[in-house]
């Protein structure tokens, strides 16, 4: 690859989705799990997808990778990988992409490894299939991978079964499996949610190190804004199957536009607040994706709601800073927002801690 080509490929999106919709047919009606999401991930970049349960973040990552079942699922929109349309490919055609080009790690390391297969075989399997390695070659690579993900005594571990390993070790094995064929794109679906906090930090560190060393792109799905803050370049906030705000990480935190993002940030208890500080909450519960509310999906829970929000759905719009989009009629900082804010403060409905920040 020549120098110019390399530069071009750095700029070109690795993954690009346009208006992806994934709807499930359920007995209650159609569940709009992902409802028109367009995102772009460039080579070597990491995107954090953040949302509450039911926001569609996991379905989005599986839709991009083409892992969802075909029965009872309505899929629309376009997914491009290195410029190639892949959303219409069959499972069989995707097999050449899975493992080699894209890999995924899951939330629960207890259930994500085959309980009756030795660790070694689980790692070497894809090497042998995708890179046509011999058994001994693959074993040698597997041992190096185990070493890379900092598993002590890799040779011995290769001969063990998953139940003989701790949760953190299993998650490392899962990362080793994902890294085996050197994918360009890694999907990490809540990779640390099931882990203890000290182990979570180790795994996040490992992931970002692997990403850096391999110039790999990363899509990190999580409900924890703290996790994405330190480890991603860009963040997409999802709510009710849609991206409601997307921005480079620093911009998102410094210049939050969407009241939902703001509320989400504020409801996290922070260590630097004195104890017994009143936590700011979001009233109500996440929207029903089968029967979503009219207008802006967040409107029923939003403190800054106005008539327009209840009747019309806001489109994603460009913010002042580049690469920052949000879907709100009265974003944080707008005159209407400030007006309502003054009202709320007067009525004492804003808790003290919200004033600061």
């Amino acid at each position: 690859m020549s120098q110019t080509e390399l530069v071009r490929s750095e700029l070109e999106p690795l993954i690009e989705t346009i208006d992806v919709k994934t709807h499930f047919k359920t007995p209650r009606g159609i569940a709009r799990a992902v409802d028109g999401v367009s995102i772009t991930i460039r080579r070597g970049q990491s995107l954090g997808v953040v949302g509450e349960s039911g926001s569609g973040k996991t379905v989005l990552s599986r839709s991009i990778m083409g892992l969802l079942p075909r029965n009872g699922v309505i899929r629309e929109g376009s997914v491009r990988y290195q410029g190639q349309e892949i959303s219409n490919r069959s499972d069989k055609e995707m097999q050449s992409i899975w493992g080699r080009e894209m890999a995924m790690i899951f939330q629960d390391p207890m259930t994500s490894l085959n309980p009756v297969m030795k660790i070694g075989k689980q790692i070497t399997e894809s090497l042998r299939k995708n890179l046509s390695m011999s058994s001994s070659e693959a074993m040698a690579v597997a041992e190096r991978l185990m070493h890379d993900v900092r598993i002590p005594e890799p040779a011995r571990r290769l001969n063990q079964y998953p139940h003989e390993l701790s949760g953190g070790m299993r998650q490392r094995v899962m990362i080793a499996i994902a890294m085996a064929c050197g994918p360009n794109m890694l999907f990490a679906d809540e990779p640390t949610t099931a882990l203890d906090v000290t182990v979570q930090a180790q795994i996040l560190e490992l992931l970002s190190e692997q990403k850096r060393e391999r110039n790999m792109s990363l899509l990190l799905v999580t409900h924890n804004l703290g996790v994405v803050a330190g480890y991603t370049d860009e963040i997409a906030v999802m709510y009710g199957g849609k991206v409601v705000e997307k921005a480079p990480t620093k911009t998102l935190f410094a210049d939050t536009k969407m009241p939902y993002t703001e509320a989400l940030l504020r409801s996290i208890p922070r260590l630097d607040q004195p104890s017994h500080s009143r936590l700011s909450t979001i009233p109500g519960r996440p929207p029903d994706i089968v029967h979503p509310p009219r207008g802006c999906h967040f409107a029923p829970r939003c403190a800054y709601v106005r008539d327009l929000c209840l009747n019309e759905e806001p489109e994603l719009q460009q913010a002042a800073s580049p690469d920052h989009t949000f879907a709100c009629f009265y974003p944080v900082g707008s005159p209407e927002y400030l007006e309502r804010r003054v009202e709320l403060t007067r009525k004492g409905e804003l808790v003290a801690s919200e004033g600061s920040n």
Partner: protein
């Protein structure tokens, strides 16, 4: 006898619960091995206080909570609640004593019987203890449901699965409140909930605590939540208490290396704060064969030979701040104890 010490126990007339040398062990099948879930811990809770117990999975925090309720009874140790020793109570007396302490569990859905309607679930304690007439009981249940923000009308008609996780947790709280308990033990009450809902439940607990003059024990792995709700925090590691202090002090001045690790591992939702490098390797060892000496020594950056052989005891390093560590981050080395024998 080397335990984790009792220096932090307070000699106060206001002490509602006093736990001393609590040990809980579970046999593993018939293998002869046992899980050392809790290995001799002591703590006390004053009336109206909130004690936070924090630690990673397997540190024995939930077991401690259940042992107080005698579900199951601890292997040894003393638990004095409101002047009564709970560990020696007979079945019937224990049944009655339990009503004064209530517990809320982690999984809001599993905490409620899926086959009963919600009002029935909240009514159950009153009907067991035959408090008041049927009409009075119903009125009391409706009132408490309103307190926790559940529509009594809906509760009368619905089964638990028709409510969200956060609402189920509110229902659990309502059930624990109807008997007017003095203390509520909250075992990871918000861990299974979304952040936005988590804050609602924490606020609700704070409100109810004031309204009903409750004493709380709040058990969780999330230090940020524990710190927010607690007055005093006990940090547990592998069945032992490492540090006890007021919650603000603990955050400002952690003394035990483990507390420090725990604090710095928490991801901060602010990209301008540089991510701290991981300061600890590995994972907590199995509670089946805990390490000798200080249980944190295999992972501790400050571990010395002394840590590997001698178990540290809790000592006060500044007013109301206790640590069980030979080489704490401040407050000086632990004095070498000369044994009389």
């Amino acid at each position: 006898m080397a335990g984790t010490g009792k220096a932090h126990l307070r000699d106060d007339t206001n002490v509602l619960l006093r736990v001393e040398d609590l040990v809980v062990e579970f046999p593993i099948g018939r293998t002869g091995l046992k899980v050392n879930a809790v290995s001799g811990i002591s703590f006390d809770v004053l009336k109206g206080e909130t004690l936070g117990i924090v630690g990673e999975s397997g540190c024995g925090k939930s077991t401690t909570g259940r042992a107080i309720m005698q579900l199951p009874s601890p292997t040894s140790g003393s638990i004095v609640f409101d002047g009564t020793e709970l560990t020696t109570l007979s079945g019937e007396a224990m049944r009655e004593a339990r009503t004064k302490i209530q517990m809320i569990f982690q999984d809001p859905i599993s905490s409620l019987n899926p086959r009963r309607n919600v009002r029935d679930i909240v009514l159950e304690p009153l009907s067991i203890w035959k408090r008041g007439t049927a009409a009075e009981q119903l009125a009391a249940v409706d009132k408490i449901l309103e307190h926790v923000g559940i529509d009594p009308q809906r509760a009368a008609e619905s089964k638990p699965h028709q409510f969200s996780g956060g609402q189920c947790q509110r229902i659990s709280i309502a059930r624990s409140l109807v008997l007017n308990p003095q203390m509520i033990i909250c075992d990871e009450p918000v861990s299974a909930l979304d952040v936005s809902v988590q804050a609602q439940v924490v606020n609700l607990l704070e409100d109810l605590k004031k309204q009903f003059e409750l004493t709380l024990i709040f058990i969780a792995h999330d230090l940020a939540v524990v710190k927010n709700i607690s007055d005093r925090i006990a940090v547990m590691y592998l069945g032992k208490i490492c540090e006890v202090s007021s919650s603000d002090d603990l955050y400002r001045n952690p003394a035990h290396p483990y507390t420090d690790v725990l604090l710095s591992s928490i991801p901060v939702p602010d990209p301008t704060v540089a991510v701290k490098k991981v300061v600890v390797d590995g994972e907590p060892p199995s509670p089946v064969s805990p390490p000798a000496g200080c249980r944190f020594n295999p992972r501790c950056p400050n571990a010395s030979d002394r840590c590997r052989s001698e178990e540290p005891t809790l000592r006060e390093i500044e007013p109301a701040h206790f640590v069980a560590c030979h080489h704490p981050l401040f407050g000086g080395e632990a004095p070498v104890v000369v044994r009389s024998n």
